[in-house]
C-alpha cells in the first residue's frame, strides 16, 4: 500500500539541485544530439564546401590588388576562410539562447522543468552550454582541416591571445544573444532559425565586418556603420593574433578589445532586461509551454 499522505509543502530546493538540473539537461541534450550525429557530419561537410568555394575564389585575386588583405600576411583565400571561422564561433552566441528557448518550447521540455522554481533557467543554461560545446568541437575540426587544406597558419605562442579575443567577443555578444532570445515571446519569433536580432546582425556582419572582404572596399559611410559591430573588431584582432602579427598590447589591438568590453558591458544589462521581460510576457500569456 502506498503512503496516503500528500506532500503539502515541498522541500526547499537549493542551488545544488539547480546544478543537477543543468547536468540533467546536458545529458538529455547529448542523448538528443546522438540522433543528430549524422546530420552534424553533413553540416560539417557543407561547411567545408563553402570554405573551399571561397578559398578557391581567392586564387583569382591579383596579389597586388588586395593590399588590405596583405596587411594580415595571408592570402585572400585564407583571409576569407579565417573570417568565416571566427564568425562561426561568434555567431553561436547570437543564436544559442534563442535556440535553447525554441527547443524547450517545441519539444515541450519546459513543461517538466516548470515544476522546479529554477527549472526554466536551468534548462536554458544547460542547452546553451551544450551549444557552446558543439561549437567548440566544430571549431577544432575546422582548424585542423583548415591547416591542411586552406593554408591557415597558427602562431602557437600567440594562441592564448586568440582565445582571450574570442572570449571577449562572446562576452560582448551575449547581450545581443539574450535580446534575440527575448524576441521569442516579444515578437513571436517561434520558427526555426527565425531570430530577428541574429538575422539583422548577421546580415550586417556578412557585409560590413570584414568576413568575406576587407571593409576598406565599402563606401565610407558603410565602413562607419561596420565599426559599430563588435564582430568587426573581434575578427580583425583575432586574424592579426592568429598568425602572430600582433600581441595583446599592440596599439590597434587594445582599441579593439576595449570596444568589445564596452559594447558587452552596455548591451548585457539591456539583453538581460529584455530576456526577463520576454520570460515574464510568455508566462503571462501562457505561451511558455506549447499547449496544442
Amino acid at each position: 500500500m502506498m503512503s496516503t499522505t500528500a506532500v503539502t509543502d515541498l522541500k526547499r530546493q537549493g542551488f545544488r539541485q539547480w546544478l543537477s538540473l543543468v547536468y540533467f539537461t546536458l545529458k538529455n541534450a547529448y542523448f538528443g544530439w546522438t540522433f543528430f550525429l549524422p546530420s552534424f557530419v553533413l553540416i560539417m561537410a557543407q561547411m567545408f564546401t563553402a570554405a573551399a568555394i571561397y578559398y578557391l575564389m581567392g586564387r583569382l585575386v591579383d596579389p597586388g590588388a588586395a593590399s588590405d588583405v596583405a596587411s594580415y600576411h595571408m592570402g585572400y583565400g585564407t583571409y576569407i576562410v579565417t573570417g568565416v571561422m571566427f564568425n562561426l564561433i561568434l555567431s553561436t552566441t547570437l543564436s544559442a539562447y534563442h535556440q535553447a528557448w525554441l527547443s524547450g518550447y517545441w519539444a515541450t521540455q519546459f513543461d517538466t522543468y516548470l515544476q522546479h522554481p529554477g527549472g526554466v533557467t536551468a534548462y536554458l543554461a544547460g542547452s546553451v552550454l551544450f551549444d557552446y560545446l558543439i561549437s567548440l568541437i566544430s571549431t577544432v575540426i575546422y582548424v585542423i582541416v583548415g591547416i591542411g587544406l586552406f593554408g591557415i597558419t597558427i602562431d602557437v605562442p600567440n594562441l592564448p591571445v586568440v582565445l582571450v579575443i574570442l572570449v571577449l567577443g562572446i562576452f560582448s555578444l551575449t547581450g545581443l544573444g539574450l535580446l534575440g532570445a527575448s524576441t521569442f515571446s516579444l515578437l513571436n519569433a517561434k520558427q526555426q532559425g527565425q531570430n530577428p536580432v541574429d538575422w539583422l546582425v548577421g546580415f550586417g556582419v556578412a557585409l560590413l565586418a570584414g568576413v568575406y572582404f576587407p571593409p576598406a572596399v565599402l563606401p565610407n559611410w558603410l565602413q562607419h556603420v561596420g565599426r559599430w559591430l563588435p564582430q568587426t573588431h573581434a575578427i580583425r584582432a583575432a586574424r592579426l593574433a592568429l598568425n602572430g602579427q600582433s600581441g595583446l598590447t599592440a596599439h590597434g589591438m587594445r582599441d579593439d578589445l576595449l570596444y568589445l568590453v564596452v559594447f558587452g558591458a552596455v548591451t548585457l544589462p539591456i539583453g538581460m532586461l529584455a530576456f526577463a521581460a520576454g520570460l515574464r510576457r510568455a508566462q503571462r500569456q501562457g505561451t511558455l509551454t506549447r499547449w496544442s
Binding site: G32, F35, F36, L37, P38, S39, L42, I43
Partner: protein, 361 residues
C-alpha cells in the same frame, strides 16, 4: 474467401472487403514522429531497422461489406487496426493480401476511381489546411483538386458552409477556429466534393457535447440522409448506436463481431451481466471477484459523490449459482451490497466482452 469475391456488386454494396491483410515492420526504438537528424537514414537504414525488424499484423484478414446507404460503425481498442484499415481502403496503404472494393472499384487496380469515389476524414486532419489561407480559399483549393469548375465550386461552398453554420467564418483563417469549427471545416471539405462513400475516423473526438451533437446531426441528415454510405470509427458506444445501422468490433486486426447493436447484444447473452450496487468495492475485493469460477471479467464504474453507489458489472459465463457465489464472496469481505441483479447488456458490455483478451494478458 468467397469465390465470387473478385467481382464487386456496386449496386448493393458501397464497400466490399474480402480477406484483407496488412502487416508492418514494427520499429520500436525509433522516433517516428520527429524530425531528428538531417541524415537519420544512416543510422536507421544501416543499423537499427535490421536489428529490430519484427512483423506485426495490423489488419489480419478482414471481411466485411457496407451496404448502399448504410453507415457502418467500427469499434475497437486503441491500436486494433481501425485507422490502418481505413487507410487501406483510401489507397494510402497497399494491401498485402485480399481484395477490397470501394464503390465497385478495386482499391489496388483502380486507385484513381477509388479516390474519386471516397473521402477520408481523419481525426486531427484539419492540420492539413493551410493556416495562411482563409476557410474559403482552403475549400476552393480542395475543390479544384477534385476537378470542380469554379462556378459550381462557389455554389457548393456557399451551400455547405451554410449547412454547417460556418458562413460567418468563411473569411477567417483556420488557427482562429475552435476545435468544433475545425472539425466542421473538414466535414465541409468532404461534403463539398460529394463522393458517394465516406470514411469518418473519430469525427467527434475532442468536441464538446454541443459540437459533437451538431456533427452527429450533420452526419445523419446530410450524409446518410442523401444516400451516401460509409464507415465510422469511434470510441463512444452511444455514438455508434445512434448513428450506425450495423456495428463491427475490431480487435488485433480482426473483426470479432458484426451486426446490428441488438444482434450484438444477443451474442453476449440476454442474461449474462450481473450488476452489483454497493457503496464501495475496494480493489482487492474486485480482484477476488475476477477469480471466481464462471466469471469472465468485472468492470467497475467508480462513483464520485458521497452517497452515490458504485456499480460493478460482472460478465458471467452462466448465471446459475454465480450470483450466490458473488454474494458470499462480498459478504466475507465485509462489503454491504445494496443490490445484485441481472441486467441487459449494453454495447459497452459487448465491447468489453469481445475485446477483453488484451487486458487479461
Amino acid at each position: 474467401m468467397a469465390v465470387n469475391a473478385a467481382t464487386p456488386d456496386p449496386e448493393r454494396f458501397a464497400v466490399e472487403v474480402y480477406g484483407v491483410r496488412k502487416r508492418f515492420i514494427s520499429r520500436e526504438g525509433l522516433p517516428l514522429g520527429w524530425g531528428f537528424g538531417d541524415a537519420h537514414w544512416i543510422i536507421s537504414s544501416l543499423i537499427k531497422y535490421r536489428q529490430e525488424r519484427q512483423w506485426k499484423n495490423a489488419v489480419d484478414g478482414v471481411d466485411l461489406t457496407v451496404r448502399r446507404g448504410e453507415l457502418l460503425g467500427l469499434l475497437g481498442p486503441n491500436g486494433a487496426g481501425k485507422t490502418t484499415f481505413l487507410r487501406c481502403l483510401a489507397t494510402l496503404l497497399r494491401l498485402d493480401e485480399g481484395s477490397a472494393f470501394v464503390n465497385g472499384y478495386d482499391v489496388v487496380r483502380q486507385p484513381d476511381e477509388v479516390k474519386l469515389s471516397m473521402n477520408l476524414i481523419g481525426s486531427g486532419q484539419w492540420s492539413a489546411f493551410d493556416w495562411g489561407l482563409t476557410v474559403r480559399q482552403n475549400l476552393h483549393f480542395f475543390g479544384t483538386l477534385y476537378g470542380i469548375a469554379k462556378a459550381e465550386r462557389n455554389r457548393r461552398i456557399d451551400e455547405t458552409l451554410e449547412w454547417l453554420g460556418l458562413t460567418g467564418r468563411a473569411k477567417d483563417k483556420p488557427p482562429t477556429l475552435s476545435a468544433g469549427e475545425r472539425q466542421k471545416m473538414l466535414l465541409a471539405k468532404a461534403f463539398m466534393v460529394r463522393t458517394p462513400v465516406f470514411f469518418l475516423d473519430e469525427p467527434t473526438v475532442g468536441l464538446d457535447p454541443d459540437g459533437a451533437h451538431q456533427v452527429r446531426e450533420f452526419i445523419t441528415r446530410e450524409l446518410i440522409g442523401s444516400g451516401t454510405s460509409g464507415i465510422l470509427t469511434t470510441h463512444r458506444m452511444d455514438e455508434a448506436e445512434d448513428l450506425c445501422a450495423r456495428v463491427a468490433i475490431m480487435d488485433h486486426g480482426r473483426v470479432v463481431a458484426i451486426g446490428t447493436p441488438l444482434e450484438l447484444k444477443k451474442t453476449v447473452g440476454e442474461r449474462s451481466i450481473l450488476e452489483i450496487r454497493a457503496r464501495r468495492v475496494p480493489r482487492d475485493a474486485l480482484q477476488t471477484l475476477r477469480t471466481l469460477p464462471g466469471i469472465r471479467t468485472a468492470v467497475v464504474a467508480p462513483a464520485g459523490e458521497e452517497g452515490l453507489e458504485e456499480s460493478v458489472r460482472l460478465h458471467c459465463e452462466d448465471l446459475n449459482g454465480t450470483a450466490g457465489r458473488v454474494a458470499d464472496s462480498l459478504a466475507s469481505a465485509g462489503i454491504a451490497v445494496s443490490s445484485i441483479e441481472t441486467t441487459q447488456p449494453t454495447l459497452e458490455d459487448v465491447f468489453i466482452a469481445l475485446t477483453n483478451k488484451r487486458i487479461a494478458q
